[in-house]
């Protein structure tokens, strides 16, 4: 048995931590300081415009802008890494397709376009949601007159992330420690794979049950804390909660600037000569 470096443990810890940092927008960035409503509108613009064109040049410019925005919004290494991994995977897939099917390389173009579109939307989403903490999202949704339950679900969902991660880790550890020990990787690592899959499936029920038990108190507490009280979502409660939101000129500049960039992309894209 080779010495353990502790990487197995610290990797999980790092991923958890990174998730928390993204979820609670602890890194700052140019979107984090803006009014949440502006950020949501910014997101809507960014997520919609790629779908109105098939020009690879326009899409390339939009993709570039989205990439810049994601970096400037400090989405952090975990999300970026996952994203790059996804894009690389797509590229490899394209290459394999090209080699195996010996198709006309021009057909690749047809695949590049949707890839750029999806890539742009993903980057915009990451930039927006890494910049909004749960409170801001639920405030923005409330301000936009989304049903209160949606805003609450977002806020509570975020609140439960660490709880779920913790619970899951303890249960998986329990299986690893007390379950049958691994008997080598097996053919193509299949046995190890099956073992992990079994553990994951078996962890599901205890995870949900334990979490549900915790939630019982939460539901009662929500009742005592006026969550379902009439007026909490529509009347005075809503006004009070949203009183702190300020849509400043800078927020207007952000949206206007975004529209300018989009217009520029649509104008300059076709001149790049990409199909």
């Amino acid at each position: 048995m080779s010495a353990r470096t502790g990487l197995d443990r610290s990797a999980v810890e790092w991923a958890t931590l990174e998730l928390m940092r993204v979820a609670y927008a602890t890194r700052g960035g140019f979107l984090a300081v803006r009014d949440p409503r502006a950020v949501v509108w910014w997101y809507v613009i960014g997520a919609v415009v790629p779908w109105f064109t098939y020009d690879a040049g326009v899409l390339a410019l939009l993709f570039g802008a989205a990439l810049w925005a994601a970096l400037a919004a400090r989405i952090g290494p975990l999300l970026l890494g996952l994203f790059v991994l996804g894009i690389l995977g797509d590229l490899v897939y394209l290459l394999v397709l090209l080699l195996v099917l010996r198709e006309d390389p021009a057909a690749i173009g047809a695949l590049v376009v949707p890839m750029l579109k999806l890539g742009t939307v993903s980057l915009v989403s990451m930039a927006a949601f890494a910049s909004l903490d749960p409170e801001k999202i639920s405030d923005a949704l409330l301000a936009m007159r989304a049903p209160e339950i949606i805003g609450f679900a977002v806020s509570y969902g975020y609140r439960m992330i660490p709880v779920l991660v913790d619970e899951f880790r303890v249960i998986v550890d329990g299986h690893l420690l007390r379950g049958a020990p691994p008997r080598g990787p097996g053919f193509l690592g299949l046995r190890a794979l099956v073992r992990v899959a079994r553990i994951l499936v078996r962890s599901f029920y205890p995870l949900i049950l334990n979490t549900a038990k915790r939630t019982r108190t939460t539901v009662e507490a929500l009742e005592t804390r006026g969550f379902t009280a009439t007026g909490a979502a529509s009347g005075a409660g809503r006004a009070l909660r949203l009183a702190h939101l300020r849509f400043t000129p800078s927020d207007g500049v952000l949206l206007a600037g975004t529209l300018v960039v989009v217009t520029f992309a649509y104008w300059a894209g076709p001149m790049l000569g990409l199909r």
Binding site: R4, E13, M20, R159, V170, T218, G226, A229, A232
Partner: protein, 689 residues
Amino acid sequence: MPTADDGTNRADPAAVRTAPAPHDGAATSEPAPPAGLAREETASQDAAPCAIEVRGLTFRYPGAEADTLRGVDLRIEAGDFVAVVGGNGSGKTTLCKTFNGLVPHFWNGDLAGSVRVNGRGTRKRSVAELAREVGYVFQDFGNQLVRATVRDDVAYAPLNLGLADWRERADDALAALGLEPYADQHIWSLSGGQQHLTALAGALALAPGILVVDEPAAEVDPVRAATIYDHLTRLNRERGVTVVVIEHHAELVATYARSVVLMDRGTVRWHLPTAEALARTADLEAADIPAPQVVAAARALVPEVAAGSTPVPLTVAECTEMLREAVRGLPPRHPFGEPAQIPAGQGTDGAVPARRASAGRDPDGAAAAAGRGPAGPTVPGAGDPASSSAHPAGPGPAAPIAALRGAGFSYRTVAGPRHRVLDRLDLEFRDGERVALVGSNGAGKSTLLRLLTGLALPDQGVVVVDGRDTRGVTAAELAGTVCHVGQRPEQMLLQDSVRADVAMFPRGRDLPDTDELVERVLERMDLTALADRDGRLLSGGQQRRTTLAIALAMRPQLLLLDEPTSSLDLRSRDDVIGLLNDLSEHIRCTVVATHDMHLVAEWARRVVVLDEGQVIADTDPASLFARPEILERARLLPPQIAQVGAALGLPHTALQVSDLIGMLGIPALADSPDASDAPDAVGPKEEHA
């Protein structure tokens, strides 16, 4: 989820109509109104409605087969500080949930009778409306917090109710509990004690006149429990808030409550002023609430108290005073504390020598001598980790099972910097030891246990378990040597029956005698009757027993337990301590991380005190309780009996009521609590060598 609907409307209208009748009926139907409360309150009952008035209340949960509350009559005066006590399943929590309308508006089962809060019935008012009069802090308070930061969470209820001054209310509540420094922290980065205060602040933000707190001391260290009670006391005195607590710990009841409600199988047995209530030891014992040690000691040693002609002492100071009177002129029988002073049942087989022997391991050495008798034989080498590690097992020092050598651990925080939990620890755990790991919340106890399991790896030094560096083996490989039972038992229950959970480890490893072993373990842990039930649906005490059974079936050399007695009523707690005593025959070394100083006093032979990642003392329970500077630093509160002993100036620390009786040299009265308090008679094996 249900809110107010037909369940409420179905309720007996007659009860509502009769409710406004004059209160005297309730007062007389009460076996004994809280007579000892301030007299003017009793006199002015007609003028001011009492805070809570319950009449003929019967309640059955939807789908349940029996009533949870059966004809409850209760009056709680405004400004009172009431402790509701009773065994598990006696209906305490259900009763308290009727005060804020969760019963019957949320739990709309069958309800008869009436509950009136500040003179108005609860049936017609919503839970949110009642929340402005009755604040409620749940037992698992962590799940009561729903927003991301402390300030947001505290402001949540006033915002929901549309109160324009929500910001001031939140700030007030934060200030009242000293939470300002944490106001902008995330909920999940708080310690348990801070979360509890946040939950309390969230209830206080609505400025309720009544505050219900379910088991405030269940999951926090003793000093933090006292902090919460001090806050409650201040709210009660300064703001006139009526406080109702559900509490298992008779000591806390004695110290803080003004009256006590005893619940028994869904009814209120009595509601009495605290001193009278605690004098009824038989009733309390029957409800699994052993009397506080000061009461037990006074009853055993002071004839007037035993006869009931003098009220029982409620605090350490009162008890000390009383005992000083009683022993005046009686010189202690054994002023220098030979083992003979320890009553029979203890000390005959090495229990006392063991305590003494490990006392020499204080890092700073000097103070350890205090409180140690000259007579205790010492185990050679046990006092010196460095020398003993060189010897293999055999006559002489016990073999180390696990050792930390310069081991440290830190983790990265969300904000970025690393937080150091343990800093270059040197510790050894040996054959036959019973180690208690104590220290305040966040001192690194749980982390130390995780290092020993191999689940966490040190970032400084090495951790050696059973001769193997934990870096060299996987945690799964170590599982046969080290078993870790976590703080929350349900996390260990992974299968759909108790039997399957107990069998999981031996079956997974294809051990030959699995079936027989499992049956034996179930038998021993008294779980045979529950073997086919789903462990996750058992009560807290049964779950603890199941996790101990799982541990036993793993046949580990080193057993690690994290807070095995937290959130248990005292009967279940004593069961666990009893089981731990039994386990020592099978397990070479047991390490328990705990806040429970009774567990330390009754079970441990060695105590390691952690503070901010360092070992600040490594000694035996008696010497620990004799060192106030360590106790204060680690936020520990010795058992009352040790405090009484110290206040009386006894030469040795009393760990149990029987110790004190023995030391004072007074023949114990007939109903002395020796029997229930008698310590284990199982000695560690190495002492016989």
